[in-house]
Symmetry: D2
Subunit: 352 residues, 4 copies
């Protein structure tokens, strides 16, 4: 069967590169257009000299000519899907225009995440909300901010205990800021206890993702707990580690909470999707895990699922407070392949 | 006036080195004995080849012969004070023996911190408890664990608002683990979300330091809030940064909380001590401070006060939850010079 | 066909772990014994808690019981081959004893590298010397020190120009020092311009590997150039980069030298071995490559060949001086899989 | 006596900041104008928010208004001296214009270093060449590139042995690239074996600085040895370490070479200048020194001389090849205070 042609918007940035990597040998999708800033239009991708991944740039991708961020030009390249890794200021309008033109936009950008008619999906958490697009040809589906994604997966696991409030302190890798991103003078043997807008995103996105979906009205009612975040950049390359404390209504023992994490499973509709990991949440029993070094690329079985599982460890319970540590890959689970997984979900549901 | 002779117990470790550094040209104290493990007895300090500070090892210290960790030998070196940077297992007995022999022990070790008759002092927070040793010739005075010290100074500032509970996530430098300490393979471009016993120490020590001192009974009643800590090692050389959230009874606006930090002053008895900083808590208004790079050595005016001030920033308030970030120097404020400051307090009070 | 059972000597160290990784699903060999220090005898491998690779420890390996470093015990485990990652002091005797007992020892240890009857092999450079073991059942075959390996591959390429002298400055990753290895306080945001015995090893091993093999006498005459090395540890995890200057007798233009690198091929007998990369030397044309980040794991096509190619770049020629930069994976190409490749060569030649 | 007013050209960059730091409480000079890009004209220095040093920005400097890089405006600020830390493209013309207007320009920029009438001075190496400006009111005096400076000081020491050729491999800190400079994704746990134009600068500048000065013609004849450099960026904050091999005509033993380093002294005219270190070259006998961690700020006695001494270690001799390692502070010795030292020399000679 012919593969579905997709555009990558913002193809030269760090997340754009992760989209390219995620689509190498993809069974459903193939890259049909690479969209970058207007000034690069017509140049070869390889000539932008921006590739910053260990996975080598596929030669055929390197030879592709760049398309300007113009809805008409993107549409005329014949794509059915646009994966968006655009800066927010450019994304707002272009994504809207593409959706109006009948393109299915799967976006990693913040612009439309909180729009009431736009689903914000982490499939293992709230796959149901994909139905918000039923009946539309063009639409926008968003995935969450990288640090939100790493948080909502374990929160989903403990949500049955009744989440009252969440405090989270992050340890976020430099790749989250793109390239050139964080100057080395600011981060070498140092941390930066501030990431613009990140704490606010974690707060509002988590509540939408863990909210209640009304399938008849096709709307989401936000969850009613608060997330108090403290976001810090640290000198690691990839991966956001988070130290979390959750205040719950129904306390459980450490053993019971660990069992919740270990028994958590993907919904059936997500199982078997090419980019879905067999186990979306892995519990580590070692006293000093998870860590960036060993756990950031977790995800089985295929290479396409690498970095798609989050790893949790160090569950500690005091009364109705549960502490744990979680790590997720910020530019895989929390960005491009996370968006690809949403498109695979739409594909399975027949919405493409 | 003749200076008071002091011994440094555990002189070859990272904290022992910071004691030596803190005592260079000290107006009250001078090094009279360097105590290391028995197997090094009689060797010159310089020959241990352990010096790991940028401040050069003073030549006269390098030439001193090491003394074994034996109370009698230490006493016979004629010291009035022993500064202790011993491993806990060795410290418990030796510190007790020295105190019994009439030596004033100022200890950075955890062994006796929680003993009911031993004061645990961060002078700007609870200088009054130094009176617990009144009338004794030999005694033990302890300072807090490095990450506790960085926490209780800002907590003292907000304590008038009624602390109900504290959550703290730490970003702790490698020097806190001593030398050789953390293997580079474990921490380069990585973090380790576990530091043995650290979370427990923060919990119990904070409550003692911020407790109520009964001056007639000379006892301390623990504060009644809980500290939930999540301790993480990060790749910085010196300095423990902490992301803190405090739940208080009497909420204040961000502006008011910042004013509390800015108006906090040292108690009169502490002011002017050689190792005391003019301002023990510095508030940074920049959105991305404090940081290890710029703030870890804060402390004015003299070189002896470098690294003795803690820096606070990023106050954010939601209802009755106050978030902020604090950094302190773990082997200066949180270790050796912190202990020297306690001895200076005892000196001023006439207890030496 | 049944696989050949092998022992791994020094199985818990960094190189030992790389042996285990290199033998996962190996077509010829399978792990039959894991040898560690006597005090660990009988314990399960997984319980040593030493695994420090991102590749997860295979479960069946984790469950294996450790064998003491005793020739008789190793022999009685029924292995034909012993891969050695032992510390030199233990290796000298045990490797000799095993060889005498008829075991084929492929060693990454320095102990016997310079023995006149022991081949020191980097297959693409001097595969012929494997014939030194013809007719023996038990023997020792060594591979080179990690930094030597990265040097002799590009030197082989320019050897036809007549090497008069070599100066090399290294940028060596921390994994080369094993675990716990380099203390983080020594290397974070720092370099250490000294690695014990490393400069001497590069000097003597290079001359043996690039020497002249007398196939009738089965002896090697050392090459007659000198290698002047300056070895420095730097804060990268894996990979030794080397800045090299070679003084040659027959100067060539930059273009010609680059062509030499690009046209270099594996000898036929090495081609197609499971751990052999298709191209053992890759030339990078980018002005700022090779780098640890992108090039350390180079090697095609199979996962078993990852990290087995060295990458060269920045050829510059002034008169008869050729400068270039090379990087190789110190615990793959320069250690365990390098040794496995030697065993594959012996297997192909029928010496096993 | 009134201090001499100076302008700092390029005051907001990393080197500009080091100029400000070097002039705090300077006995001869005081900051009279801060020059930045035209678009910042009129704004306060502190508002540029570029300060990246641990030394706090002096308040009075922070309040100064920025001047545009226009010769007339700089001259009208009443300065006698201009210290230049400009980008090369801006520097070429502005420095020339200022000199023509009678200003003494001391420049850290490369633009005019190789001009035949412009002295290129590292005072302990070639202070005599300051006489090239005798009789002029306006002139340009340059100091060397940071990595050249660290090289020529030890080369001066061994120059009596007859230098035939030099090979040098560098380990250069990130601050050398300014701010924002090196992206953290490019350097964290990595090295970059390329720094644009750096190798060429080391080659040509070294030969001019170590050349022969003809005092009657006031010209310099270049030294006739070649410098072959291989420049590499490494993840340290400040300090350029260099592994050097010098081929000499008159070989000496290791002991003799070490004695040369230990007995090297500043010329009398340099001794006692405020920014001059007592010993410009320090020899370290430890096997693993010098290192960035401990040696980069070497320099006695005053704070103004910190980072002005270079540290040498690891002398090894094979025949007529001398290897050693040297470290120097790239933005102190190799930049701003290095330039200030040249101005102090001119001041002492009465050329201001």
């Amino acid at each position: 069967m012919a593969k579905i042609k997709v555009a990558i918007l913002g193809a030269t940035g760090m997340v754009g590169q992760r989209f390219i990597e995620a689509l190498i040998d993809h069974p459903f999708f193939e890259v049909g257009a690479l969209v970058a800033s207007a000034k690069r239009e017509g140049g070869k991708y390889v000539e932008t000299d921006r590739w910053r991944l260990e996975t080598p740039l596929p030669e055929n991708i390197g030879e592709m000519k760049l398309v300007a961020p113009d809805a008409e030009k993107v549409v005329s390249s014949g794509v059915r899907i646009a994966f968006s890794a655009l800066p927010s200021d450019v994304a707002t309008e272009l994504e809207t225009d593409l959706a109006k033109s009948g393109v299915a936009v799967f976006s990693n950008t913040a612009s439309h995440r909180m729009d009431s008619e736009v689903p914000l999906i982490v499939p293992e958490v709230n796959y149901e909300t994909i139905d918000m697009i039923v009946g539309k040809k063009g639409y926008i589906v968003t995935n969450a901010n990288c640090s939100t994604t790493g948080l909502v997966l374990p929160l989903k696991v403990v949500q049955p205990l009744g989440i009252k409030r969440v405090f989270v302190a992050t340890y976020q890798a430099i790749s989250g800021a793109g390239y050139p991103g964080v100057p080395s003078l600011d981060i070498l043997a140092n941390v930066i206890p501030y990431i613009g807008k990140e704490e606010e995103k974690m707060q509002i996105e988590s509540k939408k993702i863990l909210g209640v979906y009304d399938s008849s009205a096709r709307t989401v009612r936000d969850a009613d707990f608060e997330v108090h975040a403290s976001c810090v950049r640290i000198p690691a390359v990839d991966g956001h580690l988070e130290a979390v404390e959750v205040e719950v209504e129904k306390p459980r023992s450490e053993k019971e909470v660990v069992e919740l994490f270990e028994s958590f499973e993907s919904p059936d509709v997500v199982k078997g999707l090419p980019t879905a990991p067999v186990k979306p949440v892995i519990y580590r029993h070692e006293p000093d895990r998870p860590q960036h070094r060993y756990d950031v690329n977790a995800g089985e079985p295929a290479k396409s699922a690498w970095g798609m599982a989050v790893s949790v460890g160090r569950v500690r319970v005091i009364e109705n407070y549960i502490r744990f540590v979680v790590i997720s890959h910020n530019t895989r689970r929390g960005a491009a392949p996370g968006s690809v997984l949403n498109a695979e979900l739409a594909h399975k549901k027949g919405y493409l």
